[in-house]
Symmetry: C2
Subunit: 332 residues, 2 copies
Amino acid sequence: MSLDAAATKPHEQLAAALADDLASVNALIRERMASEHAPRIPEVTAHLVEAGGKRLRPMLTLAAARMCGYDGPYHVHLAATVEFIHTATLLHDDVVDESKQRRGRPTANLLWDNTSSVLVGDYLFARSFQLMVETGSLRILDILANAAATIAEGEVLQLTAASDLATTEETYIKVVRGKTAALFSAAMEVGGEIAGQDTATKQALFDYGDALGISFQIVDDLLDYGGSNAIGKNVGDDFRERKLTMPVIRAVAQADADERAFWERTIQKGRQEDGDLEHAMSILAKHGTMESTRVDALAWADKAKAALDHVPDHALKQMLVDLADYVVARIS
Amino acid sequence: MSLDAAATKPHEQLAAALADDLASVNALIRERMASEHAPRIPEVTAHLVEAGGKRLRPMLTLAAARMCGYDGPYHVHLAATVEFIHTATLLHDDVVDESKQRRGRPTANLLWDNTSSVLVGDYLFARSFQLMVETGSLRILDILANAAATIAEGEVLQLTAASDLATTEETYIKVVRGKTAALFSAAMEVGGEIAGQDTATKQALFDYGDALGISFQIVDDLLDYGGSNAIGKNVGDDFRERKLTMPVIRAVAQADADERAFWERTIQKGRQEDGDLEHAMSILAKHGTMESTRVDALAWADKAKAALDHVPDHALKQMLVDLADYVVARIS
């Protein structure tokens, strides 16, 4: 492991420190993506797995295992597993999101993509399953099976909670755990598990991933309404898709009669007009829910950092601390 | 276990002989289908898991375990696992098949179903994964992980082979293994595995499931062109969906210039007209490919029965022998 002095962002520092491991992960991903029987599979996955992507989730697994002193080969399998699960959920999300965005009028090409997305996602799930079996650890299989169930439940919950003004903050956090935090926490925990750590340390690793994932997703949802710095490129997606995220849930709870009617029309009934997004943002500002949500995101980041107090000191640990700060820096 | 004297069909005999075990499987399925966080999940799965359904695949697991003398509790977990995997693949097939049948013009309702199908299918996969982890057997996880990969590869292969006149019999058998035989063979093998059988017996159980699944699917594909008795309710689905099944693959291989042009127009280019299905059936009859495919299906059923020679004698074994005969009785 060597540190690239020029790397400044925490995920770049992690990538530099874990460069050799990441190269092994990438090689394993390429090897296992290939299908002797169905050559189309790598075509579909290549642009997702190969291109871009910070490899954030696999880096969490590698960092957790390495900072716990692991020197066997299986953290690479687990990191590839986590990336496959992530890619499979992205593929299946495509089906869900596309069908919403182009309600009732998808193109034939879009449908072909849906079909490929579903089946290739299933293939990647199956491949990830084979990879984790190779580690020979039932406890790891248990962790990842539970994460898979939490992810799927969260996705269904998000679907049913969409456009429902009765959605609570508690439901929102469950959705966020499914969308993001469950895989972050499992990625951390399996790193500790493969390194043979005690229960308290594994819990601390889990807690870091859970809190990091939640702060990460809350920040994302804030940026969807412009955040504090309004850098969001896709501002308004959640509003248009009638997703109830924290700032809106809190504003609905404090709504006067006019505002209530506004949310019922735009979110519940989905009858949106020009200017509605701007009006929604002004309501959020009026009730201070962007700010109170921002405070929550910072608190989750603090919780992530505090969890690492229980983990042995290591250069990688400091990068994970910095990563928690970096995640919320976008809204600070 | 008690035999219902009135039961005549082999799967009804199996259901009667395994009635207590099946009741446990159904209870476990209901329990694990439930989602505390996402109540919509049982709504979507109930009609699939509860209603009708012969429970053929779980019965294979139960029968394999019981005839190998297993008396622990985990064959029930494995039978539920197998049914969950089957239901999940049905849900995901819905997305694939619907998108083909209503090319370019799905309704909003259809899209909602697609979304639910994908996510609830994923949930059932995750739940099946948790169930198998509970058995505590890495070898079982390995068998089912490999089956899951074969299923997913087969589905993608079917997608890419559709409308491709160059599809070979070898490719067709791979598709059939993915669609049907991989879960049949895994269902049988895990029954032997949980019962602690030796390698030869587990191989025999696997071989039975593999050959039964292949004969089952070939018969289904024959009935899609009317079979010998023309009972098919949905005759012509495969032709309309431009799927290359055995009778067509063989007819394409023997086609004269006119027939080649017919297959190119109807299957490759998908430009189908009234009367094409009937013409296709007349070409299949001319080359005798319905009959030669029927002979193959019977040979696979014989192979299934022969595999059971290596399994200890048991009342359930005779029912499995009868089941192999019953599967091909539809075309005899």
